[in-house]
Amino acid sequence: MAQIAIDGVTKRYGATEVLKRLDLTVAEGEFMVLLGPSGCGKTTLLRMIAGLETPSTGRILIGGTDVTLTPPARRDVGMVFQSYALYPHMTVRENIALGLKLRGVTQAEIASRIERVAALVQIAPYLERKPKALSGGQRQRVALARVIAREPSVSLMDEPLSNIDAQLRTVMRAELLRIHRKTGMTTIYVTHDQEEAMGLGDRITVMNFGHVEQIGTPDEIYARPANAFVARFIGAPRMNLIRLAHRPGANAIEAAGIRAPVPATLGTLPPDLFLGFRGEEARPGAAHDGEATIEGVVDVVEHLGAQIEVHLRLDDGEEAVFRRPRGETIWHEGERAALAIPAAHLHLFNAETGAALRA
């Protein structure tokens, strides 16, 4: 188990900069998720920690030791690949044993470790099979077992659940957490699925275009997004961001169909703003003191089963989307409706820089 520090790491391929002076610290035993859209550099960062890529500048430290130029084999890291990368010509047992043998673990110790790990990830009945005789979920478990058996100080996972079906994915997610709690391995997990990230991570690093947008616990990132990108990326359905202009000096936001109080502590607001709120924080009806009001015409009502999704068209053409319980009959397409949002759940972002404006 070890702490990982990424210190000012940049990665360039020719003229393209895929990582831009990135800093990140992962605590010992922590489950850190790297989250971002494809091409944001999260997999490149993971591969650099593994030693499969070399940073153009900057340092990588594992357990306090600079490993920037250390070959992968001597870094004491294990990796679960997106494609699992099981050796097709070896049985499950041989797959797990290979890394142990190469590290000089004794035969008896290898046998006992395989037994222990096979029980942990529930693959004991398949040990003598070849990977092609296993299902996707089973291969996934073998890939995990191969890493756990080596007892590396750091385990790296590159979208390990992306190739299995949705139902199994939720099962494997809980499994991954259970195994992490049991082994306590420092884990870095790459995904583009925000729901997976929220469910797994002790902390999440949200990345975009090769830099970090925000680092925080799932709750922090959900409740206090640092900028408009994170606000849009986290949560399903996504946060409503309504673009509006702000009259300088006014102590409230007033736009077509919108009234929102502005805390005095925010200081001078920029003229171009995003007003953000999550559908689940809004309630129908008129606003009380200190709440924001949003009014518009109900555009579409979609039935989703347990919930309905309402699309509200504001007077200046912007749209707000929110979900309500099934059977709420107050929403009629084409009629005017109003929403009230408590001030504590309002988010303001500078539309130009994307940065959140907080008191």
Binding site: L52, A73, G78, S83, A85, Y87, L98, G99
Partner: protein, 274 residues
């Protein structure tokens, strides 16, 4: 009869015709090798006859065809073994690493395959003669590399590229050396491709006449195709022995071809992994 049935009948007849054209020479070769010299030239041809093995006995006793087949085997196996031992690592290097000139080198291998043999034959003959290596199987094994290595490299580059890089990276993290990965991960996964390349290269080496005829003409050193050539020298051609020798020479080629035909049919793009 429906139009569809007529069409498939037409297909069938056409295929049967093509098959006949291909199979008939083999039939004629085997049949003639089992006939007497008189029966071979009878018109109309004798379709039913008692098999007669005198031609085989003569080819073995008079023409030392078994000795020649053994020479061919030694030269072919030697050339293929050396070619794979040299060509497989070369192909792996081209498949996995990009370096200055790597694509030119790959192209150079392919163009070598188009080399006209006579171009290298004369200088090579002079070299071999000066080194007193005429009639030595090593000479043929070496000169066959001019076509075995390009063929092996050409076929194996794609084979190695088909092995997912993640497998090699996983092995790297498991603590394996780069050469260990090549030997214990990549090679075992490309055995079908290597087998195809070896058999194809072997067929070319086995069939070679030009190099063998010039560089290894001695009675004890000559290969099987050279023996075939020797039949054409006299006033009469001993067709029975020609056909018997031909059966013994083409037999291994046909067996090798059948062994790999399904891979060849797939355009040599066999998925070593998956």
């Amino acid at each position: 009869m429906t139009r569809h049935k007529l069409l498939s009948l037409g297909h069938g007849l056409f295929l049967a015709f093509i098959a006949l054209i291909i199979i008939f020479p083999f039939y004629w070769m085997i049949a003639s090798s089992l006939k007497t010299e008189n029966q071979i030239f009878q018109l109309p041809p004798v379709w039913l006859f008692k098999p007669h093995f005198a031609s085989y006995a003569a080819a073995i006793v008079n023409d030392h065809i078994l000795r020649a087949l053994l020479n061919s085997l030694i030269v072919t196996v030697g050339a293929v073994a050396l070619g794979v031992a040299v060509g497989a690592p070369a192909a792996y290097g081209l498949a996995r690493y990009t370096f200055r000139g790597s694509s030119q080198i790959q192209f150079w291998y392919v163009t070598n395959w188009m080399l006209i043999p006579v171009v290298v034959l004369i200088p090579f003959y002079l070299l071999a003669a000066n080194l007193r290596l005429i009639d030595n199987p090593i000479t043929l094994i070496l000169i066959y590399q001019t076509f075995v290595v390009p063929l092996v490299v050409w076929l194996l580059v794609d084979q190695f590229r088909a092995v997912p890089i993640a497998l090699e990276e996983a092995a790297l993290l498991d603590g394996m050396s780069k050469f260990g990965i090549f030997l214990r991960i990549t090679l075992p996964l490309t055995v079908p491709g290597i087998t195809v390349a070896a058999i194809l290269a072997g067929i070319f080496a086995w069939n070679d006449l030009l190099y063998a005829f010039i560089l290894s003409p001695g009675t004890d050193a000559r290969t099987a195709p050279t023996v075939m050539m020797s039949y054409l020298g006299g006033y009469i051609i001993p067709w029975g022995r020609v056909m018997a020798s031909a059966v013994m020479i083409t037999g291994p080629v046909v067996i090798g071809g059948i062994a790999i035909h399904k891979y060849i049919a797939r355009g040599l793009t066999l998925g070593a992994v998956k």
